[in-house]
Symmetry: D2
């Protein structure tokens, strides 16, 4: 892909910028952490996901796929979330790793004996310290980024793609097909 | 980017597959439709967004940025959504373009005189027919896709990136900076 | 209770009006329908609840208690809702019984062999017709109501109290204590 | 109302118990605090509401009515919540008054110059201390309560009715009719 091939306009320039940087971010080798994450995700009694703002939306998109893969999965803060127990796992998305509720969820989870996977941009954050596995996504800002991918856009979009990759690996490990997933698709009205 | 450069494992293969196909999808020239969309988005009295499932999450991610850009924007179905009126605009995300509630939202919006922008995979769908502007995202499935990007993953992820591009173009048109957006960032607890 | 005993002001007059009318509404004998509902709720493989607007909030309040009682319960439309199957049950709240998505949920549920309980104000509605059990809440409007309990306030508040009564009966049937429920209380951050 | 008049069964006994206790709770004179709250609610530039769990549902039910009364109102934590500023107001529901995020919202609001109204069961709580006005709802538990109105049921249901009373008083103060409110009713699909 070259940016020259892209259509004109700021929207197209932004899409090209995102793709270029997402490619760099996702080319980082996280295979060890992903194998560990997939082991935790597929052996947990219950899986919980959490995140605030756009990070929370990326977490929800992942949770929907986990449900379609037959995993008992909940989003913390929604109506019907049960309590986290020993043997469960929690996946938390937070770029800074310092959102207060994210740290609190991680600490409560660890205290009861649940495993914590975090997707974060800061390996030295309180969230990273409270995690069993850290999926690190570092997206350094520059002048162009503030115009073409403002705020945490790169982190959030990289999280969506990274976790969609994790979905594929969980799918493979559980021997699930797309048809199996479609069969568990929720009513959409 | 070459897929050979990517780390091993199904997750990495999926990320590479997504990036390769997202690049193809986003290289399609939609500059005319994006200009029309940005005009509607920036001149509407109120902006509403809607979508179901993972499409709804992509729509929400867009809505959060619109609020940060100072646009009066609501997600239909959440607690505090006001009524849609003449002079407003609605952006609806639906791959099939046949989700019943999405069509109903579009029809109600048109009836009261609001403009409709749709992000859809089907140009002949009822949703596309009810729209003033269609942002078309076509993602044909093959055998690999069902394993590396199951169900509507490509459509959904392309929508996230396409709409993040629209954010950049709205930002430019309104003369907004990243600092302006940060200043309107919601309380995150 | 006499309204004379109440403090002055429109808020107090409204509270008194609500209590007076809720007492009338809840004194109607629904014991047969409640026994049938509790049998369905406690024997379903999975329980789903649904409602739109303030009716949806009443439905969510009920769903939270079902989860605390150990019932596998979901709110349709939230992130992690699985598919409805044979042997499941759906509880739907809609005053008019004609909200399109509510009828659609009921019809899909019946088609797959799930039982439907509705809380509605209209026994001849499409929703009521699609239901195995109807919990009827009729709240006739008058001139005072439009001032002290506007729109569907009485229906919605009566639904909250009626379903809290159903919670107590489910609790008794399952031999659950308040301490059991507290032990299943979700993380609140 | 006498409980003897009620139909048999635990659900009916629970409804009767709720009505009896809600009547006691709502007969407490809060006219001064309600007048102060209504002044704040109707003079705020923007209104925010917040609460977690079933308290959050009661807060959402109130927010929906505020929107229908033409007040610019948001639920903190939903997709499109803007930032809280000087001149705004926040209404927070928390029985204990010690939920961490509720206290944090109150503190942030006060810091920027926004007014805080709390609905709480604990006048000495951190939340109450951070509030400009406290609407106190005290619901002492006994052995019957744990069986007929487990956990915070009485507090939550009293909050719904108390705030519906506040809706009526705001409606009166703003000279709004039920028809005005219906005209601002959101699309329900």
């Amino acid at each position: 892909m070259t940016r020259a091939a892209f259509p004109v306009g700021t929207a197209a320039a932004s899409a090209a910028y995102l793709l270029e940087n997402l490619t760099k971010i996702l080319a980082v080798d996280r295979s060890k952490e992903i194998v560990e994450s997939v082991t935790i995700l597929t052996s947990a009694k219950k899986l919980f996901v959490y995140g605030v703002g756009r990070s929370g939306l990326a977490a929800r998109a992942f949770a929907m796929r986990m449900v379609q893969l037959g995993i008992d999965c909940y989003f913390i803060g929604e109506t019907i979330t049960p309590v986290v127990n020993d043997g469960d796992a929690v996946l938390i998305v937070s770029n800074t790793g310092s959102t207060m509720s994210a740290i609190q969820v991680a600490n409560i989870a660890r205290r009861v004996g649940a495993k914590v996977i975090s997707v974060t941009g800061h390996p030295a954050s309180k969230l990273a310290h409270a995690s069993n596995v850290v999926l690190l996504i570092q997206s350094n800002g520059d002048a162009i980024q503030s115009r073409l991918a403002p705020l945490n856009t790169l982190f959030e979009d990289a999280t969506v793609l990274l976790l969609d990759g994790v979905v594929a690996q969980v799918m493979e490990k559980l021997g699930q097909t797309e048809a199996d997933m479609r069969g568990r698709h929720a009513i959409m009205v």
